[in-house]
């Protein structure tokens, strides 16, 4: 009895505590929420939150706080974070709660963790143990919580720790656990795909799970996998089709229904997967026609969810190999969408159309009136989508109208992101359709003449157009009509682009535009016309109010005026100078723009000494040093007209200008200064390094930094004050850039042309269904379209408005369905973009001298020969590969090798490594192991194929090993490549099967030459596999990684990963030249670096000793040594050469390196320094 009483009494305080405590705490959250909603000002809220947070801080740090109270604090902390206040002091306690709390508190703890900590947060590491414990827990709910948090936030590095546990859960009896485990694996796959590579078989099991929920979850993984490599999963097509069939047929349990539609999420996931599988694959597509048809048919209920399925179905039908019947149904579906009064469906319809017109432009024609209505829709989103659609159907004939519509939209739009996006597209279109073909021009005139009055008048600055017309009517009145709409349209559109896009514009828009003007086309007259338009247009703009113009536009204008204003004879240069000077006085003009303007003034200043002197006088007191310097230059140039002529030759084609970017004319000055004891120039990064060296011990090898030295930068030429020089200096070759521009402009060209003018290409019979607009003659074409427009018009509207719309329609959709009629006139569908005008052998823009160009191209060509040689020599080697015993090489590998020969460079780049032949070398164990049991590595060199044995090679180093396999590598220095020979030794007595080596390296091109797949490796034997590595750009150190997968027992794949580093020194080869050749080459190279190095003084002749040391370390070729000077040459594989000039300067070695490659000298210098330091 007394026991009971005692118990009750002792329990009582706890009881009170916990009850009142809990009540108090829940109240506190409610109170907080209530008091916050009652507050009126932000300031009051901040004060309250401050109080609240400090109270919470106190509470969490107090040792008396129970887990239960902590749980409440966490909920409050979540609330505070949601309101945007920092409660990071609770994060650690959230983890603690998840770790130590009971199930109930754990749940809140895990939730808090998943809300507070994002993927990379360091505190997550502390969670790993908790998760491990809970995953092993027998309590279902604990395991569920652990899986949920793993699927949301988990540190990438710790995945291996939990992976086995999560994998085990895949066969858990409860479906909820299996489902969460699958999703956790999906998450792992997303953040670290190679960690889960080995469990693909288990994914298949999940796909076949009896619970539809688990199966649905596994589809997330499959969608991702199939998106990456559809070919590997073609065999599953049948299963996916079968599942979809069952779902559509309503075979799933009722509770997966959503508003009476069976498992819509599952259906859509499957449709996506099927469309990926069926893309460009007829036989796979055929498997799914039936089920797609069924889906289209079944989804008839009028509910959003069915439309979502239909939309996905339509996309699938248009993605896979086409089938006429399905296409027809899909097209009807799109029609329903577009015509629907529901705005969301209309939006989706427009989206579907945008997708579909890439394949079949005619579909847009059927809905032209709806599209036009959407253009004027009140909803911003719909308008935007419509423009997107119009952008896709742009052709040479409707481009003006579409661009005008886009510009109209842009003027009323204030969303930054949309503006940048659309303005880019307008610029793209303007540059793409230059109207250089005669038919284009004719059509242009016809369509324009109709819409001319209405739209031309809406141009912002239309006086310019008139000005142009006036100018031309005075000379050749007939041409005016033909020319006015194109060149001036282009300039005008670009003006609009610049003034609307403003300074948000992507930098490449003005760059491309200026390049287009500068590079020109085949005919000089046409170019000059364009330039003239630009000059005229800009003068007009500058005469108006210029205060609101964006800086980019001003920069473009000043550059063009500086270059081309002399083309316009009827304008006084003084007027141009006056306008530009006026700009300089404007407060809103930034100093960057001032530099542009001053450069322009410098170019046109000739003969106007009085104006210029005034100007430079006023600027010489400027705060800006750059401006002051320019003003100074300007003054000198204007005083000395001869100097001006020499520095800035008038009218000289700028691409033929010779620029000595190595500043070789200063060589004498430099060597004098050096001889007088001046410190040699050090590029900034080197100075930085030395500074670091002084400060602390650097244990890491120096990383290679890009040279920003003046010497390796090319001189800014007169073309480009700031921007252009950067863009042209990067690679010195514009082909790359223009290719990039080309690829970004491609709209229809890049798409595989499954769809021709008359429907699907191989199926000619579908052409019969061509719409009535396909009229044979160009004259009746537009009226034919008008008819078509009337026909598709759903409801007749008031005649006036209707006519307007029809006119718009015919101008918008011109040339869409009627390509056949145009092609009768011999016009190609899309004119080439302006950038690809002239095929120039020396496309490189301005700055870098001719030498660099030639060397770039030469290194290219040598590269391609390298490839040829590589494979060529491979063929020669084939018979010699087997050392003893088994030779698995079938004769067909020769053909295989030949076939690979044709592979382009790009192919090899995409594939990290390629299997060239499955030949390999197997060596019987007794030959090595018995003779030299101690040092395995040195024996391995004996395994090198005889043809490689004579080549210089490195020692064999061990890469990695595990109980069954050990890997070692040897570098063989071939002239044109570095061969990495990997020895795979079977350390066991049993046979190892399916050994596959994969090697990747980001910086290098790798190609597997042979032996990277071995079917069967006998016990105690060694197989050899070769990789050829090519280095295009020098990197100081590169690392490679790779994996070997093998099977010790069937079905049980092990992987072993390895990695290693290579240095540039491995890729440097001697360049054998004579002294004369050296001299010639020296003068032609542009990038140079100078540096004093340590001189080895130990032996007799310091120079010779030092050079020999370098020669040994770096495989350089010492060309000649004369007195205290030595010349040395090398090259990067068979690519860019690098010449070294060394001179003994006191106790140091003055080293001077030159190369066509900007980064190579720095790189070699770095290795020289190291080699000498190690000596």
């Amino acid at each position: 009895m007394s026991d009971v009483v005692e118990k009750t009494l002792t329990a009582l305080p706890g009881l009170f505590d916990s009850q009142t405590g809990a009540a108090k705490i829940t109240n506190r959250l409610k109170q907080l929420i209530k008091s916050i909603t009652e507050l009126t000002s932000k300031h009051e809220e901040e004060n309250l939150m401050k109080q609240e947070l400090s109270a919470m801080k106190e509470q969490v740090s107090s040792p008396n706080t129970t887990m239960k109270q902590m749980r409440e604090v966490m909920v409050r902390a979540m609330y505070c974070e949601m309101l945007g206040y920092d409660a990071s002091f609770t994060y650690i306690h959230a983890i603690k709660l998840a770790q130590q709390g009971s199930v109930l508190e754990k749940r809140v703890g895990y939730l808090a963790v998943s809300l507070f900590l994002s993927e990379g947060h360091e505190l997550l590491l502390l969670l790993v143990n908790t998760v491990l414990k809970d995953l092993q827990s027998t309590n279902l709910i604990e395991a569920c919580m652990a899986l949920t948090v793993v699927a949301q936030v988990f540190p990438k590095d710790m995945i291996p720790a939990v992976l086995p546990l999560v994998e085990d859960k895949l066969s858990h009896p409860k479906e909820i656990i299996r489902r969460k485990a699958v999703l956790a694996l999906y998450k792992f796959y997303l953040i670290a795909p190679n960690q889960v590579q080995h469990i693909h078989a288990k994914f298949r099991k999940a796909l076949c799970d009896k619970d539809p929920g688990v199966m649905t979850s596994s589809l997330h993984i499959y969608l991702q996998l199939i998106r990456e490599s559809p070919d590997d999963y073609k065999d599953l097509t049948g299963s996916f089709v079968a599942i979809l069939k069952q779902v559509v047929g309503g075979k799933l349990p009722m509770d997966f229904n959503y508003h009476n539609v069976p498992a819509p999420w599952l259906q859509i996931q499957l449709l996506r997967i099927l469309s990926l599988l069926g893309r460009e694959d007829q036989s796979t597509s055929e498997l799914m026609y039936e089920v797609l048809d069924e889906s289209l048919r079944r989804a008839e209920m009028n509910h959003n969810i069915t439309y979502a399925i239909l939309y996905e179905c339509v996309k699938a039908v248009y993605t896979i190999h086409p089938k006429a019947e399905l296409l027809e149904k899909a097209a009807r579906c799109i029609g329903n969408f577009v015509l629907s009064p529901k705005i969301n469906l209309k939006y989706l319809g427009l989206k579907a159309l945008t997708y579909v017109v890439q394949h079949d432009a005619k579909l847009a024609l059927q809905h032209q009136m709806t599209i036009i209505e959407c253009l004027d829709h009140s909803d911003f989103t719909i308008k935007r989508e419509t423009l997107e659609l119009l952008f896709r159907i742009t052709n040479a004939q409707n481009v003006t109208v579409i661009v005008e519509k886009m510009l109209d939209f842009l003027r009323g739009c204030n969303d930054e992101h949309t503006v940048i996006h659309l303005v880019g597209k307008v610029a793209e279109l303007a540059e793409k359709y230059p109207f250089h073909s005669l038919t284009g021009r004719l059509l242009q005139r016809m369509t324009l003449s109709r819409v001319h009055k209405k739209y031309i008048s809406s141009y912002k600055i239309n006086t310019n157009l008139l000005c142009v017309s006036f100018y031309f009517t005075s000379y050749v009145p007939i041409i005016t009509l033909t020319f006015a709409p194109d060149n001036s349209w282009f300039i005008q559109t670009m003006n609009d682009v610049f003034s609307i896009g403003g300074d948000l514009l992507q930098q490449d828009v003005p760059n491309n535009f200026l390049r287009l003007l500068a590079e020109g086309s085949e005919s000089k007259e046409e170019d000059d016309e364009l330039r003239l338009y630009a000059v005229d247009s800009y003068l007009t703009v500058l005469k108006g109010d210029t205060s609101h113009l964006p800086q980019r536009f001003l920069q473009v204008m000043s550059w063009v005026l500086g270059e081309y204003s002399d083309l316009q004879e009827c304008v006084d240069q003084r007027e141009v100078i006056r306008l530009l000077t006026k700009l300089l006085d404007q407060r809103s003009v930034t100093s960057e723009t001032r530099v542009w303007i001053l450069s322009a003034l410098t170019k046109i200043s000739e003969g106007q000494t009085d104006l210029i002197l005034d100007l430079s006088e006023s600027l010489s007191y400027s705060q800006d040093t750059v401006l002051r310097q320019q003003a100074q230059e300007l003054r000198h140039l204007s005083r000395d007209s001869q100097l001006h002529e020499w520095a800035l030759p008038r009218g000289a084609p700028w691409d033929s200008m010779e620029v000595d970017s190595s500043l070789s004319f200063l060589d004498g000055f430099v060597s004098e200064a050096l001889a007088a004891g001046a410190a040699p120039y050090k590029p900034p990064h080197q100075r930085q390094e030395e500074l670091c060296e002084e400060r602390a011990l650097n244990l890491e090898p120096y990383s290679f930094s890009l040279p920003v030295s003046l010497s390796s930068c090319s001189i800014t030429d007169r073309q480009s004050p700031t921007m252009l020089s950067v863009s042209s200096g990067i690679s010195g070759n514009s082909t790359e850039l223009s290719q990039k521009a080309g690829s970004s402009t491609v709209i229809l060209e890049g798409v595989k042309r499954v769809w021709g003018k008359d429907g699907y290409l191989p199926q000619k019979e579908t052409a019969a269904t061509a719409p009535p607009v396909d009229k044979p003659s160009i004259a009746v074409q537009s009226s034919g379209q008008q008819e078509a427009a009337e026909r598709t018009e759903p409801q007749p509207e008031p005649p006036m408005q209707n006519q307007d719309k029809q006119q718009l329609a015919s101008s918008l959709f011109v040339g869409l369905g009627a390509q056949s009629s145009i092609s009768l006139l011999g016009k190609s569908e899309a004119p080439p973009p302006r950038f690809r005008k002239k095929p120039r052998p020396h496309e490189s823009s301005s700055s870098s001298g001719t030498s660099e160009r030639s060397s770039v191209s030469s290194s290219r060509s040598s590269h391609s020969t390298t490839d040829g040689f590589l494979y060529g020599s491979l063929l020669e080697e084939e018979p010699a590969t087997s050392i003893s015993g088994v030779d698995h090489t079938p004769k067909s590998t020769t053909a295989n090798g030949l076939g690979q020969n044709k592979h382009t460079d790009g192919d090899r780049r995409t594939n990290t490594s390629q299997i060239l032949g499955s030949d390999m070398v197997i060596v019987r164990p007794n030959t090595i192991q018995d003779k030299y049991p101690s040092s395995v590595s040195s024996d391995l060199t004996a395994l090198l194929p005889p043809d490689l044995k004579d080549l210089p090679h490195s020692d064999v180093i061990s890469l990695t090993s595990d109980p069954s396999l050990s890997l070692a590598s040897c570098r063989v220095f071939r002239d044109e490549a570095l061969l990495l020979v990997i020895f795979i030794c079977n350390c066991t007595e049993t046979v190892i099967k399916d050994v596959a080596v994969q090697l990747t390296c980001e910086e290098l091109q790798t190609a597997s030459l042979r032996g990277n797949v071995v079917d069967c490796l006998e016990g105690r034997s060694t197989s050899v596999c070769h990789y050829a590595l090519l280095m295009d750009d020098p990197h100081t150190n590169v690392s490679f990684t790779g994996t070997v997968s093998y099977q010790t027992q069937p079905g049980h794949t092990n992987t072993l990963s390895f990695s290693g580093t290579l240095s540039t020194a491995d890729f440097i080869r001697p360049l054998v030249v004579t002294t004369e050749e050296y001299g010639k080459l020296w003068l032609s190279l542009s990038h140079d670096v100078k540096q004093n190095l340590k001189l080895l003084t130990a032996a007799g002749d310091p120079l010779r000793t030092t050079l020999n040391a370098l020669k040994d370390a770096l495989q350089l070729h010492v060309v000649d040594i004369i007195g205290s000077e030595g010349i040395v040459a090398c090259r990067l594989l068979s690519g860019a050469p690098c010449l070294l000039h060394c001179r003994v300067n006191g106790a140091a070695l003055a080293m001077w390196l030159r190369s066509p490659h900007p980064a190579l000298p720095d790189c070699i210098l770095y290795h020289c320094q190291r080699a000498l330091a190690e000596h």
Partner: protein
């Protein structure tokens, strides 16, 4: 799906779930921009918006806006229905759910969401399963609560 936001007509955030790792600064920017954009929409406008490179799908239920950020390839209509399904689940759990339920029991709303969507992908489309797993965890919660509160005599 990149994120899910719930906010009131006054622009007060009620729930936020991020499915990709973002910095606090970015999150705040997204919340500010998206609430502004969505609240400015006229009532009968279409439920889709573009923000930067994300598609925004929103839907209003009484005084509460549900709003999702999607990637380019996601299906807008389906997401709209996903929001609806979430509201149905909330409704089922709270019984005629209103904004106050979510304000005061936001952690419950998170729990339900975690059972429905994981890592931006739909986890369980069966309404019954979600309800069941919620019930299981909750029943445990109740028994635990009873257990803790049970007098020990």
């Amino acid at each position: 799906m990149r994120f899910l936001l719930l906010f009131s007509r006054q622009g007060k955030l009620r729930l936020q779930k991020w499915f990709t790792a973002l910095s606090d600064h970015d999150k705040k920017k997204i919340i500010r921009d998206v609430t502004q954009m969505v609240l400015a929409r006229p009532p009968k406008a279409c439920n889709f918006l573009q923000w930067r490179d994300l598609k925004i799908v929103y839907r209003r239920y009484a005084s509460l806006y549900f709003c999702c950020g999607l990637e380019e390839e996601d299906n807008e209509l389906l997401t709209l229905e996903l929001l609806h399904r979430y509201v149905e689940l909330l409704d089922q759990y709270f019984g005629n759910v209103c904004e106050l339920d979510i304000i005061f029991n936001f952690e419950k709303a998170y729990f339900i969401l975690d059972e429905f969507v994981i890592g931006g992908e739909v986890q369980e489309t069966s309404k019954a399963s979600v309800a069941k797993s919620m019930e299981e965890s909750d029943s445990l919660q109740e028994t635990m609560e009873e257990y803790v509160n049970k007098p020990t005599y």
